[in-house]
Each structure stands twice: as structure tokens, then as C-alpha cells.
């Protein structure tokens, strides 16, 4: 099954084993000629299953027997993420929301509360706020700035749109009793951002990701936010970064 999708300005043909990936990506369909193609094999599904089991064991989580069609969505994005590095574009783990057309990207370990925090932003800002992507946006890093792109891989609540916005700031979120935001140095920020970027299996592609994240950190201010679940947390974050 083949279909082409426009994601982060590139036309990508997905050649899949199962139909589900095409429903998953349906908001991104294009009729344009593909810039590149990703083809999934049975071996890719096996790889994703083994990786999922390995990570569950390491993290002490229950091993879930995911359907092959779900594992294929992971395999597709892994291949796209590798290819997009040639276009100065990288996958990053975080929840991105745009307010007045400028994107703020919240990143943290899973379970910290990124999605909860951006939900509060939507409640506070109403129509001024648009979700770009709640889980795995793509970031295009150029000499004149960074753009965040929505992708179909937008988290378990499928929050996000086929849209993009210039990145204003990245915020590393941590839980706190009170709300406090501070800018952090590039040398403090870089290791934290590396932990949240997509890491390829391929040595040279990982080097490319490191080059892009190093370039990003010199252009975009990075903040540390300690916050609770409240509208005051939103005001603290927004006023600290705007």
C-alpha cells in the first residue's frame, strides 16, 4: 500500500504492509511527487517489537504485545526521522503549542506533565493558542531560526495539526510546588536536549542530529520551568519566555 504525504515541507511516500498507517497520516495526504520514499518490511516490525520489549524490561514496565500495524507506525517514523536529517530537520520529543503564531516547545521525561501544561495554555489563551504537536514534532533548523512542524505522530490524544510555526523558545519542564522559570546556559541546556531528541541507530545520522541540536541551542533560548498544575504556571511560563 502506497500513498504520499507532505510532512515538514517534504513529500514522503509511505509504502506499508498494513492500511492503518494511511488512516493515521490522512490529514497530510498530497498528490505531489515524492521527495523520498520509506518502505516497511517484516524485519522492521520485528525490530520495533524487540526494541519495545527491551525498553519495557529496562524501565521495569509491563511488556505489551502491540499489534503489528501499530509497530509499523513507529517503524515508518523512525525511517522518516532518519531521512529528514538530510533536510536539516530533526524529530524532537515534546509538546509544542503556538500562541499568537509563535511556538513554545515543552520537553521533559514522559509522565512529567508536558501535555497537562499545554492543555492549561489552551484554556488560558483560548483562540490565540493552536496545538502544533503534543508529542513528536519535527524541527527544521536553519541559520535564520527554527520552525516547528506538526506531524501525524502527535501523542495518545492526537493533539496537533498539519501546521507549523517559528520556534520562540524551548522549556524544560519539571514538577514544582511553586512556579518559577529561568533561562539556562547553552552548556547546561545541550545535554538535557540531547536526551529528548531522536537518536538514530546510525553513527553518522546521530552525528548530524548532534550538529543540528548544537546549532539550535545557539539560536533559541532554553528555559527551565518548575511548575504545578495551575493557570499561574501558564502565566509564569509565558511571561518568562515572551
Amino acid at each position: 500500500m502506497k500513498q504520499t504525504y507532505k510532512i515538514a515541507e517534504k513529500n514522503i511516500e509511505i509504502d506499508s504492509l498494513f492500511p492503518e498507517i494511511h488512516a493515521f497520516c490522512s490529514d497530510y495526504v498530497t498528490n505531489q511527487i515524492a521527495d523520498f520514499s520509506v518502505k516497511i518490511s517484516e524485519q522492521d516490525i520485528v525490530f520495533e517489537r524487540e526494541k519495545s520489549v527491551r525498553e519495557s524490561i529496562v524501565e521495569g514496565l509491563e511488556i505489551i504485545n502491540y499489534p503489528d500495524s501499530y509497530l509499523e507506525t513507529l517503524a515508518v517514523y523512525r525511517k522518516i526521522a532518519d531521512k529528514m536529517l538530510s533536510y536539516e530537520t530533526m524529530l524532537f520529543h515534546g509538546s509544542a503549542i503556538a500562541v499568537d503564531g509563535q511556538a513554545y516547545l515543552f520537553t521533559a521525561k514522559s509522565g512529567t506533565g508536558k501535555s497537562t501544561h499545554t492543555r492549561l495554555w489552551r484554556e488560558v489563551f483560548g483562540d490565540r493558542a493552536v496545538m502544533v504537536n503534543d508529542d513528536k514534532p519535527l524541527l527544521k533548523v536553519t541559520d535564520s531560526g527554527v520552525t516547528v512542524f506538526g506531524t501525524p505522530w502527535n501523542g495518545k490524544h492526537r493533539l496537533g495539526k498539519n501546521n507549523s510555526a517559528p520556534l520562540k523558545a524551548i522549556c524544560i519542564l519539571e514538577r514544582g510546588e511553586t512556579n518559577e522559570i529561568s533561562i539556562i546556559s547553552t552548556s547546561d541546556a545541550l545535554p538535557k536536549l540531547i536526551q529528548q531528541m531522536y537518536r538514530s541507530q546510525d553513527h553518522s545520522l546521530l552525528s548530524k542530529s548532534l550538529e543540528l541540536i548544537s546549532k539550535l541551542v545557539h539560536q533559541i533560548p532554553i528555559y527551565n520551568l518548575y511548575c504545578n498544575i495551575s493557570y499561574d504556571a501558564v502565566n509564569t511560563a509565558y511571561n518568562g519566555m515572551k
Binding site: 545541550l190 540531547i194 537518536r199 546521530l206 552525528s207 548544537s214
Partner: protein, 86 residues
């Protein structure tokens, strides 16, 4: 021993980072100073712990016991995260 191919060394200017690819069993990050950078450079080729200690002693001035302790500690950490082929 030698640095495993699933790890890459990234220098930021201020410090040295050892970053695992998705293939590595370790998912964290190792950060360090010039000594780590030097040790990781040594480990691009097959080398023994004693040879690393000798190389560092020739490169940096410092207390011999402290250099030995630094190298042993770093090598032990690299071994723990699976970054060494031995």
C-alpha cells in the same frame, strides 16, 4: 579495549559528551571535561588502561595517583554502560 561503535563523542567546546546511538543498551549521557575527552580519544584505538594512564601522565601535569584514580573511575563507568569492547 576500545570504544564501542554504538557511542559517539561530541565536543561542545566547554565539555565532552558521550552519546549512545539507539542501538546502545545505555540511554543516558556521559558528560565530562578534558580528561574524559582525552580518554575517549585514546579509546578510538585498541588500548589498555595502563597505556591510557601513561598517555595522560605524559600530556597533563598532575599527581600520579590522582591520574590513575581518574582513569580507573572513568574506565569503570564506561564499562558499566557498555561503552567498551574488550
Amino acid at each position: 579495549m576500545k570504544l564501542n561503535h554504538n557511542f559517539i563523542v561530541h565536543n561542545t567546546g566547554d565539555e565532552t559528551l558521550l552519546v549512545p546511538t539507539a542501538e546502545a543498551p545505555f540511554h543516558g549521557l556521559i558528560q565530562g571535561n578534558k580528561t574524559l575527552e582525552f580518554i575517549l580519544n585514546c579509546l578510538q584505538e585498541d588500548i589498555t588502561e595502563e597505556e591510557i594512564i601513561s598517555a595522560i601522565s605524559a600530556e597533563f601535569r598532575g599527581n600520579a595517583d590522582e591520574i590513575r584514580e581518574d582513569v580507573e573511575k572513568t574506565v569503570s563507568e564506561l564499562r558499566r554502560i557498555g561503552a567498551l569492547d574488550e
